[in-house]
């Protein structure tokens, strides 16, 4: 929800590693994720909580299991907030160029 949370969550290599693992294969349990890291279960849980707080990871229940999914929407929001603005300027510049060229022709 808050961009600060997203940037803070991404500013840690372990958390980025966890996102990479979910990008590779989504819907994993804590136990599966833990097996890929040299870290205690508690440590992995802590990192997942930060990622969840930033909205980058979403959990869903499936029977008795809690599955973790990568949610790219907060990153898309950051992209759209700044990048589309620049794209808009380029489009506007090209549109102006077209008008000028056509008028002078």
């Amino acid at each position: 929800m808050d961009d600060d949370h997203v940037f803070r969550a991404l500013a840690d290599p372990t958390r980025r590693y966890l996102l990479d693992r979910l990008f590779e294969r989504d819907g994993r349990t804590l136990t599966e994720l833990e097996s890929e890291l040299e870290m205690t279960r508690f440590g992995v849980m802590k990192h997942l909580r930060v990622l969840e707080g930033a909205g980058l990871v979403v959990t869903r229940r499936s029977g008795r299991e809690k599955l973790h999914f990568l949610n790219p929407v907060p990153i898309r929001l950051i992209h759209d907030r700044w990048i589309t603005k620049y794209a808009e300027h380029r489009v506007a510049a090209l549109a102006n160029l077209k008008t000028e060229l056509e008028e002078s022709a």
Binding site: M1, N71, P72, R76, L77, I83
Partner: protein, 151 residues
């Protein structure tokens, strides 16, 4: 990089400063969907078993085809889904899209889209993977600012 297979269950979520009713309208009314859903006019009577269709704004082409499985305004919408805009995805079986709308306090509502049952539809899974983020970002912008995303 390791081989990338698109996921058979995909989950997308966004917090929007709007009421559940506003979100429901944004998902089910064509005058809203055309502003953030790749220009698609989404149409359905929203009854169980009714067709769910997404059209190009000029009706020249149908983009999405499906059927309503559950419509519980303003909290939950489930439809089947087949993307017709690409011959490869159009040839794949129907998958399923679930929209969940939950109040999150302080005038904020959490919207979650689960696109699943994609096991037999790998092209569709690959195709929608980036698309849902764009759609939800556009939906949030539209509801919070009244303006569609540009660019």
């Amino acid at each position: 990089m390791s081989t990338m297979t698109a996921q058979a269950t995909q989950v997308y979520s966004v917090f929007v400063r709007a009421t559940p009713e506003q979100l429901w309208d944004a998902i089910t009314k064509p005058e809203f969907t055309s502003k953030y859903f790749y220009g698609s006019v989404i149409e359905s009577t929203w009854e169980h078993g009714a067709p769910y269709a997404g059209w190009a704004i000029d009706r020249s082409q149908q983009y999405v085809d499906g059927e309503v499985i559950e419509a519980s305004p303003p909290r939950k919408l489930v439809t089947t889904w087949r993307a017709l805009y690409d011959p490869e995805t159009a040839a794949e079986p129907f998958s399923r899209v679930t929209w969940e709308i939950e109040p999150a306090g302080d005038g904020v509502t959490k919207l979650t889209v689960v696109h699943d049952e994609l096991e037999a539809s790998p092209k569709t899974a690959e195709n929608v993977a980036g698309g849902w983020s764009f759609v939800l970002s556009g939906l949030k912008t539209l509801l919070e600012t009244g303006e569609p995303l540009s660019g």
